[in-house]
């Protein structure tokens, strides 16, 4: 029950991915990278407000794990959520427009950078209170089990969330009911300026966290999209559809919940206003050497899955899509003030009104 996997076994799940699938992974990582560059730029130009957390450096984590899922598997994460939203399939236009506070955003401009929701793509949100998404993830998994569905919920969290009570209560609930959920720590070593070793007990042995709840533990190199996929593919398949005698079934299925330590690194500051005095330029440079996009590019070229020209064309395309997203966001209108009073209640009374669904769910741009 408390086994450890690392994706380094003889047969790797990614070996059975064809070139087209690998190129899809690369395309998505490139899109996230170029999209985030435009996000940062738009923030500097004051077109994006509030808190804005950039995903650059961590692309392989979202992409490697989400590519291992079925389209209907629920995903939930914290506030560093643009990468997950895109990898799950949200159109970049709606993601960018949300950050611009425009009516065409995924949440009509009501949520902003930290709150990317996409019902059609089973993206249950970015959540801005550290650790707050963990019990919600457990709730999603509970619902899928309750309804007898063959699903696995993936709940991402930062290493800083390991220190929240909500995380521990969520782990315990998942364990006692053998819920089909994978908790994924995107372990980039820092919560703001606090290194994990200063904030988290047993930081160098996170397996103990999983094992203390009797939960399956795995770890992966979050800078390596193939290794991430190798860990997640078999894991997701064995957690998916888990059931529990405690919930009344006779035969238990699946291995129950799991906990993955995904070692990654954010290349940018915590948010857009972070002087980063807590880490050295050398440290950042060292991780930039392991750029997840370059690694996959090298892999593809070595195996003749793609030519340098193809790769460059893909990158140009990613840049264009990101630029188009900015243009779309720019040209979209702000919500009218009457939008303040929509979506407060689904059965409104008094001053409240029913809202229209976001354009994202009504049409494809």
């Amino acid at each position: 029950m408390t086994t450890v996997t690392s994706g380094k076994s003889m047969t790797r799940a990614s070996d059975s991915l064809d070139a087209a699938k690998l190129l899809d992974m690369l395309r998505m990582m490139m899109l996230i990278r170029r999209f985030e560059e435009r996000t940062a730029q738009s923030f500097m130009q004051k077109q994006i407000g509030g808190f804005c957390h950039i995903y650059i450096g961590q692309e392989a984590t979202a992409v490697g794990s989400i590519f291992a899922l079925n389209p209907g598997d629920p995903v939930i994460t914290a506030y560093r959520d643009h990468g997950h939203a895109l990898a799950r399939g949200m159109h970049p236009n709606h993601c960018m427009a949300e950050m611009f506070g425009k009516i065409t955003g995924c949440a009509k401009g009501k949520g902003g950078s930290m709150h990317m929701f996409d019902r059609a793509h089973h993206m249950y949100g970015g959540h801005a209170i550290v650790g707050g998404q963990c019990p919600l993830g457990v709730g999603l998994a509970f619902a899928t089990m309750y309804l007898g569905e063959e699903k696995v919920t993936v709940c991402y969290l930062g290493d800083g969330a390991l220190n929240q009570g909500a995380f521990h209560e969520a782990m315990n609930l998942a364990a006692i009911w053998r819920l089909p959920i994978i908790f994924v720590v995107e372990n980039n070593s820092y919560s703001m300026g606090t290194h994990i070793a200063r904030g988290t007990s047993m930081a160098n042995d996170l397996a103990t966290k999983a094992h203390s709840y009797g939960m399956h533990y795995a770890e992966c190199d979050g800078m390596d999209v193939l290794n991430t996929y190798d860990v997640f593919k078999p894991l997701a398949d064995s957690v998916r559809g888990s059931t529990s005698k405690a919930m009344g079934v006779k035969e238990e299925k699946g291995i129950g919940p799991a906990f993955v330590n995904c070692k990654t690194y954010r290349f940018k500051g915590h948010s857009m206003s972070d002087p980063q005095k807590y880490r050295s330029k050398d440290e950042v440079a060292q991780f930039e050497q392991k750029d997840p996009i370059n690694s996959l590019v090298n892999h593809l070229i070595e195996r003749n899955h793609a030519t340098q020209e193809q790769i460059e064309a893909m990158d140009e395309r990613a840049k264009q899509i990101a630029l188009d997203a900015v243009k779309f966001a720019n040209e979209s209108p702000f919500p009218g003030v009457e939008e303040l009073y929509t979506d407060v209640y689904s059965q409104p009374f008094g001053p409240y009104k029913v809202g229209e669904l976001p354009i994202m769910l009504r049409e494809n741009p």
Binding site: G50, A107, A161, Q164, P335
Partner: protein, 345 residues
Amino acid sequence: MTRELQFRDALREAMIEEMVRDERVFLMGEEVAEYNGAYKVSQGMLEQFGPRRIVDTPISETGFAGLGVGAAMYGLRPIIEFMSWSFCLVAADQIINNAPKMLYMSGGQFGCPIVFRGNNGAGGQLGSTHSWCVESMFATVPGLKVAIPSTPRDAKGLLKAAIRDNDPVFNLESERMLGLGARGDRDFSRYLHGKWAPPSVEEDSDFLIPFGVADVKKEGTDCTIVTAGRPVHFALEAAEHLEKEGINVEVIDCRTYRPLDIETIVRSVKKTNYCVVVDQCWPFASIASEIAMQIYERAMDDLDNKVIRVNNDDVPAAYSFPLEQEMLPHARKICEAVRSAMYVA
């Protein structure tokens, strides 16, 4: 000579002076030490006091808020910083069930001299979970004191008093105000000129502003505006507009909501006969409702119209810039309320 001082500097001065004075006082919270404070309020304090007294925590609000309560029971005088009051909600049991009730539940044996402080209210497009105004939610709790300063002078005097207070105090600051004063007098209303900076420690090491004493930020004769915290600045902005229209409002800054200085408010209402209450909380069961009711109870016969409340719109805080701007109890809404209260078309 008034000093050029930002709001965040005043908070820091208060903490430093009290920590020098009393060995039992310590500061604990996320990023307060090595990072020098997420909002630079505690800048330099780790260097001055060391890691025993300026303590970085993990993101464990229940843990360190409760730790503070326990340490206070044992005789220390903790200052617990919430990066934002929005994050105190995960620690609700510790701060509203334990801190304020310890004295009562122990029959007077264990007090809880603790200060919880941090940013409150809309910070600037942070979305609804990060934009809590907690004053009406917490001012309802007996056993708590709630301070909500609007100037560095008040911030320093109130925080020093809070640290010396033997009861739990919630100090509600505002991210939007921390940098006020950076550009001198341009940052704030001319009505505050000369009333901005607190005395330095050399001038007065015991500069305390007692709780439950409101401050008349601007004297006037025509209509009373009652408020506190960031909306004081909205009210003063409105006062400037209204002055041009020949309306001379009086702006009362409550400074603490619990205890509330209802006497000063009533005295003003008896003079002006009109009243507008401005409160950045949501209107239902709000601070504004409470103040309006207390005015009716004491000065009904002196009012020439009903008391008008100006609150945040009764909706969750939105991220989008124009929506967030509109929902605040801003100057235009206050001007309209004053005109309406005074029957000025």
